[in-house]
Symmetry: C2
Subunit: 174 residues, 2 copies
């Protein structure tokens, strides 16, 4: 059995980790995602839908969560899962850190923890998808700093002149 | 309002078209998909799940269906929908024709009809995903005959040595 890490220590901060999802997370996730100032309202709704699906269907939803909390307020979260019809390919659907907790390494620490958990579940590869638009450059840079490689770019995917960029990391090689 | 085509005439055959989904389609789709002899049982289950989702959530499921029927038995079907968070990008999730109805052009006629319906809904692009394995060559050839271009290939996506190939067609150019 894999040991479950229960906190992240980053500089002087201690973040408690939680893997179970509770109904109040519908609001928690909305707050985190909105606080980034980065997402359209329909994207926020989709982030919340994934929690709903998890609350409704449990593990069989295929969505797994990690919350990093500090004095009962959440600093960030990840939502990931194995991609249907694959053997060992995972998608990180959402990774978000509140505006006020950004820049301290919480995002990278959450990504690393996610990779460890996926590897412990037998995962081989992790995929990340984001927009190729200029305003998503910080996101792409973050993925690249986390050692994800660009695997493909689909032009005009999200909208005209708004491509989808697919990143991948083979976690058996790290 | 777009005119709704109610039949497909292919050589001497007449296929009635149905766009509404009913509970008996859970079995209909299982039969069509299984009859191809092409899909794993977990893939068949996923085809059926999309109908369940449609029956449960209606149009808000995002899944649209076309059934081609002949004397009340279905010869093939398509399941398609707009991809979440995109403006005008559609995915054809499933297109399948029963073993006995294959080779008569029903698949191509269903694909053409799907493209017309997506274009009428304001769609710009259609994506198709399949495996890069040798046994999926007939599928890839079918997509290429339907004028889809290979947009990307993700190695080892489905499993080791089992890539995902992504096809795309800009339907405004056709």
């Amino acid at each position: 059995m894999t040991e479950t890490q229960d906190e992240l220590r980053i500089a002087s901060s201690v973040w408690n980790l939680r893997y179970e999802v509770k109904p109040s997370d519908l609001l928690t996730i909305r707050k985190i995602v909105e606080s980034t100032g980065f997402f359209h309202s329909y994207e926020v709704d989709i982030a919340v839908e994934l929690v709903e699906e998890r609350l409704r269907r449990g593990n069989s939803s295929g969505y797994h969560f990690i919350f990093a909390e500090n004095d009962s307020s959440a600093g960030g979260y990840v939502c990931y899962g194995e991609i249907a019809c694959t053997s060992g390919s995972y998608d990180v659907y959402w990774i978000a850190v509140t505006k006020e907790s950004q820049g301290c390494g919480l995002g990278r620490a959450l990504m690393k923890l996610t990779e460890e958990r996926i590897a412990a579940s037998g995962g081989r590869r992790i995929y990340l998808e984001t927009s190729g638009r200029t305003d998503y450059l910080p996101t792409r840079r973050f993925y690249e700093r986390c050692s994800y490689d660009k695997a493909a770019e689909l032009p005009d995917f999200y909208a005209e002149n708004d491509s989808k960029v697919i990143y991948v990391k083979d976690i058996r090689k790290t």
